[in-house]
């Protein structure tokens, strides 16, 4: 479960393992502070997400190799609901291609279930920025699906 969370917030497996390592260390050192109330899994999950957010803070001012799409001409053909219909592996790969800010907001909102006010507080931005980033993240994911469809069609044409 922990590595799954880290993979969603990281750009690749190596970065995910870095976050996972920090999360484990944090958990080992904080075991005494766990009250014992509530499920241990939820506590571990919260710490892992927090560590992922911390990693985001470190990385957000550094170089990122994420793919950048031209947002001005973003008008994907794919419908918005197609994102939820993707299989897990495909969706994970596409999420990892997002820029760190978009990826983090998308995870926090779409998967963890936080609202934009909470996300703004966590990321040190405004609620509006969170909304905007989430919206753009979904557009970017749809663009990626468009590209996949386009490549698939090209391959089919070559095959024919």
């Amino acid at each position: 479960m922990m590595k799954g969370i880290c993979l969603r917030y990281a750009a690749n497996e190596m970065e995910a393992e870095d976050v996972l390592q920090e999360s484990f260390i944090k958990i080992f050192k904080s075991l005494d502070s766990w009250s014992g109330q509530g499920p241990l899994g939820a506590w571990v999950r919260r710490i892992t997400v927090n560590m992922a957010l911390e990693q985001y803070r470190k990385n957000k001012t550094q170089k990122s190799m994420a793919i950048v799409y031209d947002m001005k001409e973003a008008n994907p053909l794919t419908e918005d609901g197609a994102i939820e219909n993707l299989n897990m592996e495909d969706l994970l790969k596409k999420i990892q291609k997002l820029a760190p800010g978009f990826r983090t907001v998308f995870n926090l909102y779409a998967v963890e279930g936080y609202n934009h006010t909470e996300i703004g507080e966590m990321m040190g931005t405004s609620e509006g920025t969170s909304k905007s980033q989430y919206s753009r993240a979904r557009v970017l994911l749809r663009q990626m699906i468009d590209e996949d469809v386009l490549n698939e069609n090209k391959n089919l044409n070559y095959a024919n």
């Binding site: 927090n50 957000k60 950048v68 820029a99 920025t129």
Partner: protein, 442 residues
């Protein structure tokens, strides 16, 4: 949390997981050991800083105490001589060893016998009249021309009565002008002999190369007698470090409020592949309020409170963001020992050595994101600790009796820095700067 979870992604990723590799477990184990070492290292820095401050404080106190003690003895000596010279005109010349002599003991007045000899004192003192033809010093025991004062030095029993003590050649002489216009020549060994004689107008220094005249020069300085000084100054600094090799703090605090250790990660390892391409620090501005305690004539210990603003800028080659400006506000508490190597009535030159403890408190950062076409501004309280060594060279000019204006060029080298910051801040290294301000003696 949301009231309505959109879609089914939460369920989709709910049980998604993967097994950590064995390499990761080894890495975790070694990381736990490293963290422990880091914590010990930080303790050592704190301990060293406190110990160095204590040592410096003790050194200054000790030097100041010695200097003060010496001056006090000289001052007492002069005062005593003046008080006891109110023309009771006994004409007697008691000679007592200065050290350990109480007032009662000091009031002892040896008799001058009819032949003009003095009873024995602890130190050899020779008096003889400079005027070769007259003798009007005393009504009870006047000293005649070229009359030899008989002495006994307990340390030199082989000195015979009537011997010319000054002829030993090792005794410096002091000329003293007295109220009745007589000029006396005193000779003594290293310890100054207390005199009792009619009112002393002035003491002139002898022309003796072996005589240490510096002890008596304090009378020439009329200013700078105050023990405490307060000051106010403004200053700025410039980095002497090359721009091409910046180092960065990158200590994320995140949401972990119980982040227990302060860490500095320099531009290696984790950051080497992801760190900004370059960075600069603008000239910081500081306002300093100081208080100083003087010890003796030349030493002082200075501390106070400084308020500093430092602006750090980091640049990126690619993607988000392109530039981060981080301005942090900090307070500093210096501890500096100063020595005035030139001290005139209006002009003073000094040099100082000390340490500056700096505590970052507040950070304002703005990030430019070309991808989002936006600028993000973040403000937060931070914590940390920086310690730097300080060497300064100062000049003070006295504007009034109690007020001086000073210019203090200085060099600072940061030898420890730690800051809990969510944003990269260029690390300080060696700086050159100057402060200008006013000092009041209180």
């Amino acid at each position: 949390m949301q009231t309505n979870t959109p879609g089914s992604l939460k369920e989709k990723f709910g049980n998604f997981g993967a097994a950590p590799t064995e390499q990761l477990w080894n890495s975790i184990s070694s990381s736990l050991d490293q963290k422990e070492k880091k914590r010990r290292g930080i303790f050592w820095w704190w301990f060293s800083g406190i110990a160095a401050s204590g040592l410096l404080l003790f050194g200054i106190y000790y030097l100041g105490y010695q200097a003060g003690k010496s001056e006090k003895n000289i001052a007492e000596e002069n005062n005593y001589a003046v008080e006891k010279s109110d023309a009771n005109s006994t004409g007697s010349l008691p000679s007592n060893e200065m050290t350990g002599v109480t007032d009662d003991e000091a009031q002892y007045t040896p008799d001058v016998n009819s032949t003009g000899t003095l009873s024995s004192g602890e130190m050899p003192v020779e008096t003889h009249n400079e005027h070769q033809n007259k003798s009007n010093v005393s009504s009870t025991g006047s000293l005649s021309l070229s009359q030899r004062v008989e002495m006994t030095d307990p340390k030199e029993d082989d000195l015979e009565k009537g011997a010319d003590v000054s002829s030993s050649g090792s005794l410096p002489a002091i000329n003293i002008t007295v109220a009745n216009e007589h000029h006396l020549v005193l000779t003594s060994t290293e310890k100054m002999t207390r005199l009792e004689y009619p009112k002393i107008h002035k003491i002139t220094l002898p022309h003796d190369d072996n005589f240490d005249a510096s002890e008596f020069k304090h009378d020439e300085i009329s200013f700078g007698e105050s023990k405490w000084e307060i000051g106010f100054s403004v200053g700025t600094q410039m980095s002497l470090s090359p721009k091409e090799e910046p180092l960065y703090f990158n200590v994320g605090n995140g949401l972990n409020t119980d982040f227990s250790s302060l860490e500095t990660i320099q531009g290696t390892g984790l950051l080497s592949s992801q760190s900004p391409s370059s960075g600069t620090i603008s000239r910081p501005l500081s306002i300093d309020f100081s208080i100083a305690r003087t010890f003796g004539k030349r030493w002082s210990l200075q501390s106070g409170l400084g308020i500093n603003w430092t602006k750090s800028t980091t640049f990126y080659d690619y993607l988000t963001p392109s530039q981060v400006n981080a301005s942090f506000f900090s307070i500093s508490v210096p501890l500096v020992a100063e020595f005035d190597f030139v001290k005139r009535k209006r002009l003073e030159f000094s040099t100082g050595l000390g340490i500056v403890n700096e505590i970052p408190l507040y950070l304002r950062s703005s990030s430019l994101y070309p991808v989002l076409e936006s600028k993000t501004v973040s403000k937060s309280f931070i914590s940390g600790y920086m310690c730097s060594g300080l060497l300064n060279l100062g000049v003070n000019y006295r504007l009034t009796e109690k007020m001086k204006i000073g210019l203090h060029p200085n060099v600072r080298h940061y030898f420890f820095q730690s800051m809990k910051s969510d944003f990269p801040v260029v690390e300080k290294k060696t700086w050159f700067g100057a402060n200008i301000g006013l000092v009041w003696e209180i």
